[in-house]
């Protein structure tokens, strides 16, 4: 353990608590946003990232025109939010650095927790691997197969799990754990 959060100055404990609760708030709204724009089941995630595979995989040899009647109410039907390649490039560019910074912050907290080296290495790996899985899933869903939506869902839940593990352990060790007389 590089430092011990449970014995840290109250100001450091308060800083870490505020940081973790802020992340928790942001993740809560992140989950809400996912529910609004993508969904939590593979079918919805696949419809968000791989609509092209579901409609027409290849451009036609000559331009094709298809006309069909529609009602005014069909204009109101919520089209699923779709992320095309350009938007996914943009999303990846702006999200991945932020996820890296969040994972780094949480890893710094992990370094101050009382846990075995192996558990700390595992937790840090989880914190960084989760967003990788999330975005890898999006790209593979778009370009390989809709089934990779599972990877994105798994990555999202892994991010949430990482935050919960670190937050619960840190809050417990900083504020609730009784100090033992251990060297």
């Amino acid at each position: 353990m590089l430092y011990d959060l449970s014995r840290a100055d109250a100001r450091v404990k308060w800083l870490v608590t505020c940081l973790l609760l802020t992340f928790a708030l942001a993740y809560g709204f992140g989950g809400w946003m996912v529910a609004l724009y993508a969904g939590f089941v593979p079918k919805q995630v696949a419809a968000t990232y791989a609509p092209s595979q579901m409609s027409m995989a290849m451009p036609p040899e000559s331009t094709v025109v298809v006309e069909h009647p529609m009602t005014m109410s069909q204009f109101a039907e919520a089209a699923p939010h779709q992320v095309d390649t350009a938007l996914l490039v943009q999303d990846t560019h702006v999200h991945v650095p932020m996820y890296g910074v969040i994972a780094a912050c949480l890893s710094v907290v992990v370094l101050g927790l009382r846990m075995s080296r192996r558990a700390a290495l595992g937790t840090i790996s989880l914190l960084f691997a989760a967003p990788w899985l999330d975005f890898l899933g999006m790209w593979l869903t778009k370009f390989l197969a809709p089934g990779f939506a599972w990877l994105t869902i798994g990555g999202g839940w892994a991010m949430a799990a990482g935050l919960v593990i670190v937050t619960v352990m840190a809050l417990w060790q900083m504020w609730l754990m009784k100090e033992r007389t251990v060297s």
Partner: protein, 188 residues
């Protein structure tokens, strides 16, 4: 301690770069009612572009529609054509903006409505709209050059930098709609 503070500061900076969610400024049915007034029958004409045509459009306005499909919505009253309508998405670094452009039967622009923005861009778009952005597009014909569609130029000096920037993005949407109309609206 310093590390944590630095990391927190970096997070805040990164959060500022985050694209905010889409917000609906005008519901599509309301936009359709305003842009195709009196129409009681609607048709969606989907033009699935072949590579050569997609390239032509890309060369004209540096744009490819999502999945290579352009959709024109026509409105009729009985058997009389009222006009055509397109919803064009413009991706900006602050998230997408959706511009609805309608054409009368002569092919000139009848009206333009910005139907979607993002939480972040909404106030900028609204300021540009309040300054009369969309009125400058009325009457443009499909042969208008992208430079001619730059209604944002008329707003320079009367709105802030960010509303002006969003107005330029709306210009792009209108230029795309005009090019798509010119090249493919009459395609059967």
């Amino acid at each position: 301690m310093t590390t944590i503070s630095r990391a927190a500061a970096l997070s805040a900076v990164a959060a500022l770069l985050h694209i905010t969610p889409t917000v609906v400024l005008v519901e599509r049915p309301d936009a359709v009612a305003q842009l195709l007034p009196g129409a009681d029958k609607f048709f969606a004409r989907e033009v699935h572009l072949a590579d050569a045509d997609a390239h032509k459009l890309h060369e004209a306005v540096d744009w490819s529609p999502v999945d290579g499909v352009l959709t024109f919505y026509s409105g009729r009253r009985g058997t009389t054509l009222i006009g055509l309508l397109e919803f064009v998405r413009v991706d900006t670094p602050h998230g997408p903006v959706e511009v609805s452009v309608s054409f009368d039967t002569l092919g000139t622009i009848r009206g333009v409505i910005v139907t979607k923005a993002t939480v972040e861009t909404k106030p900028w778009v609204l300021e540009a709209l309040r300054a009369g952005l969309c009125s400058h597009y009325r009457g443009l014909t499909p042969t208008a050059t992208p430079a001619a569609t730059a209604a944002s130029a008329a707003l320079r000096g009367s709105v802030g930098e960010l509303p002006l920037y969003m107005a330029q993005e709306v210009d792009k949407g209108v230029a795309r709609a005009l090019a798509a109309y010119r090249l493919f609206a009459q395609r059967r």
